[in-house]
Symmetry: C2
Subunit: 219 residues, 2 copies
């Protein structure tokens, strides 16, 4: 019975890891679509988000069914509840990748990001994709060092986010208000993507250490 | 045993309703602080968010403890899982009210919102506060008509959000980029506040009807 249960917990973890792979691909494609004003790629990111939603729905059903059938307690119960929460965070990462793609589609064929900010958004995209991979690795390995690496990559994403804002506040920023609005939203989408990856990481750390404050990661 | 369990479910609902009251007050105060550039009020909203976080932590612990002790199945199990999810959404509404207050603090003593948009943000604040109350009422009554009312108020909030964006895209918008950035973020905070209220509503509707698509509400 215990063995079956632990096999089912592994399946939940595999489901979550699969979701991190989907959203990692989504944010990578969304960033490429954004920087190349590639409508077709943007459309494919928007369409693919339904897969993330379906993966979440399936995983959540499995988790609830597991609660009903096995009535886990103590740590086992917390692992299942954490899986439900992590699936929400990862699903939201998918939404944010979709939002980036939707902004690309909205302004097509014009490019949303001015050339001077393209390198910053490229780095944001790379960092966000890396965060997805690290979240998946962390779910797989439960290695606290990987959690610290993830938090440090999120710090980098926050720095890039601040760079974008500093650029828009500069005296020589002469872009129209529409661009300022778009860039503000886009930068926020990447920042939030990172926040959700951190939230996944902290849930894993909590399961390992019992501490959800992030203090274990030396913040 | 069943009676004890249902009493405990009622306590979870009361906890959620208490949280909607806190975030309703928070968004009302945050809007007032924003429109009157009231630093002291902004600070009090920021400090009060810790109460929402504490209420969520307590409620979630109670829900998990209930799962462990009672091992509910079927609808009872879904009610407890839904409570965990609703508490996340309401906690996030509290964060968004805090973000509005933080923006006010960041720009103090300057007013963040230009005068021409003050009436729109005032309406957004009123609508957001109403949505919090409606979410609480819905958790209390499980009345589908109340859910439809909530969705229609969220439509109003989305309309106001679009009005803000239309205003910023107009030829006579001559505010500096800093204001454009701030207004974009603020408007998005209110919009997201509404989205989370809708998410709470849909969880209640799902418990009542088994349908989470929102289609029961005639969307």
């Amino acid at each position: 019975m215990r063995e079956v249960f632990h096999h089912e917990l592994d399946q939940l973890a595999d489901g979550l890891i699969g979701m991190t792979e989907l959203v990692g691909q989504a944010i990578d494609d969304a960033t490429r679509a954004l920087l190349e004003a590639d409508l077709q790629l943007a459309e494919s990111v928007i369409a693919a988000d339904a897969q993330v939603d379906a993966a979440q729905a399936e995983l959540d059903e499995r988790a609830i069914e597991l609660l009903a059938r096995q009535a886990p307690v103590a740590t086992d119960l917390r692992v299942v509840v954490a899986a439900l929460r992590m699936s929400s965070s990862i699903e939201r990462m998918g939404d944010l990748a979709r939002h980036v793609a939707q902004q690309t589609r909205l302004r097509f064929p014009r490019s949303v990001v001015p050339e001077s900010l393209a390198p910053t958004f490229e780095k944001m995209g790379q960092t966000a994709q890396r965060l997805s991979g690290e979240a998946g690795d962390l779910i797989r390995t439960r290695d606290l060092a990987a959690a610290a690496k993830l938090e440090s990559d999120d710090d980098l994403l926050d720095q890039l986010h601040r760079q974008v804002f500093t650029r828009m506040m500069a005296a020589d920023w002469t872009e129209p208000a529409e661009t300022t609005v778009d860039v503000t939203l886009l930068s926020r989408f990447y920042e939030r993507f990172g926040d959700h990856a951190v939230s996944v990481a902290r849930r894993v750390v909590f399961l390992v250490t019992g501490d959800y404050s992030g203090s274990t990661l030396g913040e």
